[in-house]
């Protein structure tokens, strides 16, 4: 008798938790939210560089890696990390485990674009295609915003 009650309770709770999770399971692959490109004194001239940021969520059941991207306005695209305040290339890309969200933000992980063909200033829009290993590429329109966040040091050559 008690077993039946426990089963009934499990169904009730099971239904509730399914309902609670429903929105998250409707997505496939990688969902990118609130992506933007930073404008600063490093990006206000041709030949300059800057970072791309955003929230990347892997809704698949396999790991996905951000390996870089493509844009008309920059020749070089790399994945970067900031270690001890110094920015460096993150070899092998940025891994997002199944079900996880990785936030690219100033002072942390980001996609770097270098040798830009024209200035990027606040309010500009650029087109950027993010490339993944394990997921389809995604083309985004990114708005440029001034940001002093992160306090990272660029190793200017």
């Amino acid at each position: 008798m008690l077993k039946k009650f426990v089963a009934a309770m499990a169904i009730v709770f099971g239904l509730v938790s399914l309902t609670g999770c429903a929105p998250a399971t409707t997505h496939e692959g990688v969902v990118i939210e609130d992506a933007w490109v930073r404008s600063s004194e490093y990006s206000d001239h041709a030949g300059g560089m800057t970072g791309i940021f955003g929230k990347f969520t892997n809704h698949g059941d396999q790991p996905v890696t951000i390996i870089g991207g493509e844009t008309d306005i920059a020749k070089m695209v790399q994945t970067h990390e900031v270690v001890n305040g110094m920015m460096q290339e993150k070899k092998g890309g940025i891994v997002i485990k199944p079900g996880e969200t990785v936030t690219l933000q100033p002072g942390g992980l980001h996609i770097m674009i270098m040798d830009i063909a024209k200035p990027i200033v606040a309010g500009d829009k650029i087109t950027f295609t993010v490339k993944f290993k394990g997921a389809e590429s995604q083309t985004l329109t990114l708005t440029a915003k001034d940001s002093a966040g992160g306090d990272e040091t660029y190793n200017k050559k």
Binding site: T19, D146, A148, G149
Partner: protein
Amino acid sequence: MISRRGFLTASTAAATAVVGAVGASKLQFDSDQQIAQTAVGQKTVSPHGIHQAGIDLELQSHSRFMAFDIPNGILKSDLAKWAELITDDIVRLTAGKPVLADPSAEFAGAPARLTITVGFSANLLRKIGAEIPAGFGELPRFKIDRLKPEFSDGDILIQVSSDDPIALFYASRALTRDTESFAKLRWAQQGFSNAAGVTPTGHTQRNLMGQIDGTDNPRPGTEVFDRQVWISEGPAWAVGGTCLVLRRIQMNLDTWDRLSTDAKEGVIGRKLSNGAPLGKVNETDLPDFEAKDENGIKVIPPFAHIRKASGKPKQQFFRRPFNYEVPGQEAGLLWTAYCANVENQYVPIQKALDEGDLLNLWTTPVGSSVWILPRGFQKGEVLAGDLFA
């Protein structure tokens, strides 16, 4: 031993509690009591509509006016980019969400009726070669004015209002950060009214002199309000908008406090207790400017403020003032007039008051600016996008 019926009831109740917690986790509060206690913070005002938000809305508890100067040589296309950034900020902030690239996103979530209202000066319209709508422009000089540049003029106005000063601080910083990529902050002035939950809806506020202030206001949503406030002809970006005269009125409360209640009531022409016109009973009673007492003296003195301020019906506007205080230094009113035509509706009344309003002995305008607030924007539109196109 629990009965079957009792057990199922208990598990249903438990399940309901779980659902409640799932729903509330967004708000980070876990009981009905906490949700009720934080209701003020969770209230939102839509930024979309034919008019900008924050004009015909019941007063919030706090409001900040920020004026920015744009550099010479700025292009319309630069301002179009600014407008797009600010529109996105407005939509996110008023919904309680962080802005894009937000360095302090942890503040978001409790907008407390946050509204953000944007305006431009005639100077800005001239700088970009835009048409200046009829009746909008700078004010004539008034004798009583003692204007300070740090409270006057500017090119762009952003007004941020909320029932919570933290929400207001957070939104103001985000908007300033994104505007300073294009313009320089010229001044910021902040005011307050009663806190949420202190006075009932539709209640007329008391100013810091103790007067019930704003009785003659047209009521939002009425035909009179629409006619007086909203611009109905002119360039498309202005139609559905309004003009705002913002005056920083310093009060000399030390000398005011020395007056008797009778003297204070004579200066304004209304009772201090409930705002009724002298000789009348209720706040909303119409003043009788001809009434005389048994000695043949006018009940409402010749120089009373309400006598001087009563114009023809056409010469009226909507007021939405906030009190201000710089503790230990200065107190007064961030006085506002919203009208479709500044020249026809505001200037004649201010001229009359300039020449013999008794209230001038205790009040001094120390800041002044005039703005045109463009029409509102719908979902997907950019605020003032058509002005900068």
